[in-house]
């Protein structure tokens, strides 16, 4: 294939690095401090990047590598760092994620943590130490996210007496989505263990004083019960087996694992609700029937605006897959499904949900950057783009509207409060999509209709 631009370098990346995802996931554990084993800059850049989306303070500690640490190993710095964080933050959990630096010099982090527990067992508070391996030269931020969730479950879950408990691994979704999921599980009246849960830590209320660690998150004691759950539900169909928390619980404790795509769209949401009904033996609450009815009604009201509209959707693989299924059920054509990730599974998974993808001309590309997407846009001529804020550069340059969702939303307000999942999230997405089309038409019209 002939490309119009330089291919070797990544230009305007459509992904972030591994440790970012881990920090976010660790933020979803109660009383936990994310800790990066590497240079100061990693923690600072990631904090800055997360803050610009969530508008919340986020403290990420760092072992602040210096030249000596790079030469002689980061063991000393890591231990001092853990001690300092333990004393100053008094956390229950420290989530240690590695960086390209500590991985490249080959620090044996599990070994160092074992030593630390021994050396500091007297006199210092001893938090639970979790280690996720997140070298930035592998995968992208979503891999770090799953690695941290997996590492947490591995560190904390124990074989418990089987109980009526559902584990939910929601994937990297918004705080608003997480709140909605908790509402659903709450309404089913079933005890649950959702990990991570940064619905409050990354979107909370005002403070009277500074909280070293913001309130919220799933308690370590709840995570410990995951081994005795009756089932695990994991959103996402591209998670590597070695990073699947649900898979781990299945293998280790025989907790049945149910893998669902992100529940976006009516069919996707139906699957999720049906599964909950099967697992709990209860019907969904009437209000969800209502949400569904309103959504079906809205589809009817808005269908003509969106039918056959061509879009490019980009982002994390599982978000793209979930969105693609939804876009197909409203008659839109995602002419390009793109991701910076490289799971190797996206095309297969989309094919499972959209069997006629080839006839429809749906193209799937992994490992792309925004310059690749821009090149594709020249051929596929989309009506608009759907994805995070980072597509704005090409959106503006090529005069293609951008509908923002996912992470990061750096150029609009309220990204943390956007819904994507379930009937409610689908409703919000559908309204926004229809309005994008209407606005486009209205602006393009020379008449200036006041109702469309």
């Amino acid at each position: 294939m002939k490309h119009e631009h330089a291919k070797t370098a990544t230009q305007n990346a459509c992904k972030l690095c591994n440790p970012l995802g881990a920090c976010l996931a660790f933020r979803g554990i109660e009383n936990c401090v994310p800790f990066l084993h590497g240079s100061q800059g990693c923690a600072t850049y990631i904090r800055r990047y997360l803050i610009s989306h969530y508008k919340e303070p986020i403290d990420i500690a760092s072992s602040n590598f210096h030249e000596e640490s790079a030469v002689f190993g980061g063991s000393h710095n890591l231990k001092i760092g853990l001690k300092n964080v333990s004393e100053q933050y008094k956390p229950e959990v420290i989530g240690v994620a590695t960086t390209c630096l500590s991985e490249t010099i080959g620090d044996d982090v599990p070994g160092i943590l074992r030593e630390y527990r021994k050396e500091y067992k007297n006199g210092t508070p001893m938090p639970i130490l979790i280690h996720a391996s997140t070298p930035s030269y592998q995968g992208s931020h979503i891999d770090g996210f799953h690695a941290a969730v997996h590492a947490t479950v591995k560190a904390l879950a124990v074989k418990g007496t089987p109980q009526k408990l559902i584990n939910l691994f929601p994937n990297m979704v918004s705080p608003a989505d997480l709140r909605y999921l908790k509402e659903i599980l709450g309404d089913f009246g079933v005890p649950y263990m959702m990990l991570p849960d940064y619905s409050q830590t990354m979107d909370g209320g005002p403070w009277g004083e500074y909280h070293r660690i913001p309130p919220g998150g799933t308690p370590a004691s709840t995570i410990a019960t995951a081994g005795g759950a009756m089932a695990s539900i994991e959103f996402g169909s591209t998670i590597e087996a070695s990073k699947s928390a649900a898979g781990y619980l299945d293998v280790m404790f025989g907790v049945p694992a149910y893998h669902l795509p992100l529940p976006i769209g009516i069919k996707g949401s139906d699957k999720f609700f049906s599964l909950l009904e099967t697992l709990t033996g209860d019907r969904r609450a009437e209000k969800y029937e209502d949400e569904r009815r309103r959504l079906v009604d809205a589809y009817a009201d808005g269908h003509k605006y969106v039918f056959d509209k061509k879009v490019i959707i980009y982002g994390e693989e599982d978000l793209v897959i979930g969105m693609t299924a939804f876009l197909r059920e409203i008659g839109m054509v995602p002419v390009l499904c793109a991701t910076g990730g490289k799971s190797g599974l996206m095309k297969k998974r989309i094919g499972e949900l959209v069997p006629d993808m080839d006839e429809l001309g749906i193209k799937v590309r992994e490992g792309v950057d925004f310059v690749d997407i821009e090149d594709e846009a020249k051929t596929v001529q989309p009506d608009f783009l759907i994805g995070n804020s980072k597509g704005y550069t090409m959106s503006r340059k090529n005069n293609i509207p951008l509908l923002r969702l996912g992470f990061p939303i750096h150029d609009r307000f309220g990204g943390q409060r956007m819904h994507h999942l379930g009937y409610r999230g689908t409703q919000e997405l559908f309204d926004r999509i229809v309005n994008t089309v209407i606005e486009q038409r209205q602006n393009a019209s020379s008449i200036g209709y006041t109702y469309m």
Binding site: T10, T44, Y45, G208
Partner: protein
């Protein structure tokens, strides 16, 4: 002062001005403590911010994707022409590159990017692991420079090899390779370079206009709205005018040594410092008294319109208290003065990278009871902000949510700003922003004002 459990190693980086207190020097110029949540970044960050605004060069980050992704189009540094600086290029090193080395990928990336974008130069930033895997960046750069005919400059910015300041120095070192390679023909005797001005929201244009109005030629701005050809002939200027001293003093000193160009430190924030930066330049050209006349003329005209427009803000803000935590200490000095001119006092002042002299001067300037911090963190900053009852925090992106969580106003004085705060017009914008944030009625709902939690 240790009720919040200030880390043992940090106590010397905090100082509260009290009469009769021992005047111990504040500890600074140190690396951040392991495990503290510093507001600082790394060596790479220092290099990246300094060189970022050079708009007709490509900036290739050699390493895994993060460093390039997090610095893609993040500064408000604008260009009047090419905008290559707003693109993000990375060698995006993968595991195999880490094992077998990244030189080939770097070489190929460079050749392709230069072919596609036709830049005037290329800066290659090395990140943490590049040194470890043993890539010979210098050799690759030399080879590519030979083959493409443009300067290809390595920037040794491995994140862990020092602090942000070392990154500034690495960037300045790269700039020194360019300076002296252009023709200085036709450069006026009355000429300057503007150093340490990054053209955030067009600030360099404002400053440049003042100097040009005075009859002074501006040879190069380093690096705001930067152009490689201008940098190459910067050694033809008579004087270097340095703002953001933290990042550019090293370059000024090098240029003084190598080309005999003297330098002065200035600041463009606030009426007082802005005016002074025009006068201080004018006195360097005594052979042309009309320059000083023009400077006086500019100041008098600007102040005549600015001063009355500030009174509304001053009236509202008198008695309000501010906390300042920014990158460089020099900026802190100006902000203290600027805040005073609109009736506000400063209860906390600090910087990420100030040096001993800076802090000594800060102590002198500050009022009784002001807390001075070096390389602080959110816990400390919050403690002092609440304790001192600040109504405003001035800082960057990472400080913003701290202020808003605690329910106090905030003024963004960092790389991302979209409104110019420098120059006389900048003083107006600054006062307006402070006013709009401090006086907002939304704070009535904040817990510190009695709102419910």
């Amino acid at each position: 002062m240790d009720s919040i459990g200030i880390l043992e190693g940090r106590q010397k980086q905090i100082f509260e001005k009290k009469s009769g207190a021992t005047q111990a020097d504040i500890a600074c110029d140190t690396s951040s403590l392991s495990g503290s949540v510093s507001q600082r970044a790394c060596v790479f960050c220092g290099s990246r911010v300094v060189l970022y605004p050079v708009a007709d060069a490509i900036h290739l980050v050699h390493g895994p994707i993060g460093c390039a992704a997090y610095t893609w189009d993040i500064r408000g540094a604008v260009s009047s022409g090419p905008e290559l600086h707003r693109l993000s290029f990375s060698t995006d090193l993968q595991e195999m590159d880490v094992i077998y080395g990244g030189e080939k990928k770097l070489y190929k990336s460079l050749i392709e990017l230069i072919e596609q974008y036709k830049p005037k130069a290329a800066f290659i930033y090395s990140t943490c692991i590049v040194g470890l895997i043993g890539d010979d960046i210098e050799a690759v750069c030399k080879k590519v420079a030979r083959e493409t005919g443009i300067p290809v400059l390595p920037v040794h910015s491995e994140g862990f090899k020092g602090t942000k300041k070392d990154g500034y120095k690495a960037a300045c070192h790269a700039l020194m390779q360019l300076i002296g390679t252009g023709s200085t023909q036709d450069i006026s005797k009355q000429s300057i370079n503007i150093l340490g001005e990054f053209n955030l929201a067009g600030e360099a244009w404002i400053i440049r206009q003042y100097y040009e109005k005075m009859g002074i030629e501006v040879v190069a701005t380093l690096t705001g709205d930067g152009r490689i050809d201008a940098v190459r002939r910067a050694h033809g200027a008579t004087l270097n005018v340095v703002q953001c001293s933290g990042s550019m003093t090293w370059l000024a000193k090098e240029m003084e040594e190598k080309y005999g160009i003297p330098y002065i430190r200035v600041s463009y924030f606030g009426i007082e410092d802005m005016s002074k930066s025009l006068y201080d330049v004018a006195v360097k050209f005594p052979e042309r008294p009309e320059i000083m006349d023009a400077a006086k003329q500019i100041v008098s005209e600007e102040v005549k319109t600015l001063y009355p427009s500030l009174q509304k803000f001053k009236k509202a803000l008198t008695g309000k208290k501010a906390a300042i935590y920014v990158g460089g200490a020099f900026k802190t000095f100006s902000l203290i003065k600027a805040l005073r001119s609109i009736g506000m006092s400063v209860v906390l002042a600090g910087s990420q990278t100030g040096n001993k002299d800076d802090y000594a001067r800060l102590k002198e300037m500050c009022d009784e009871g002001t807390v001075i911090v070096d390389d602080s963190n959110p816990v400390e900053l919050s403690k002092f902000i609440l304790e001192k009852g600040a109504d405003l925090l001035i800082g960057g992106v990472k400080e913003r949510p701290i202020a808003f969580k605690l329910g106090i106003g905030f003024c963004d004085h960092n790389h991302e700003r979209k409104i110019p705060l420098a120059g006389f017009v900048g003083m107006y914008n600054f006062a307006l922003e402070v006013y709009q944030s401090v006086m907002s009625p939304v704070w009535q709902f904040a817990p510190r004002k009695g709102g419910s939690l």
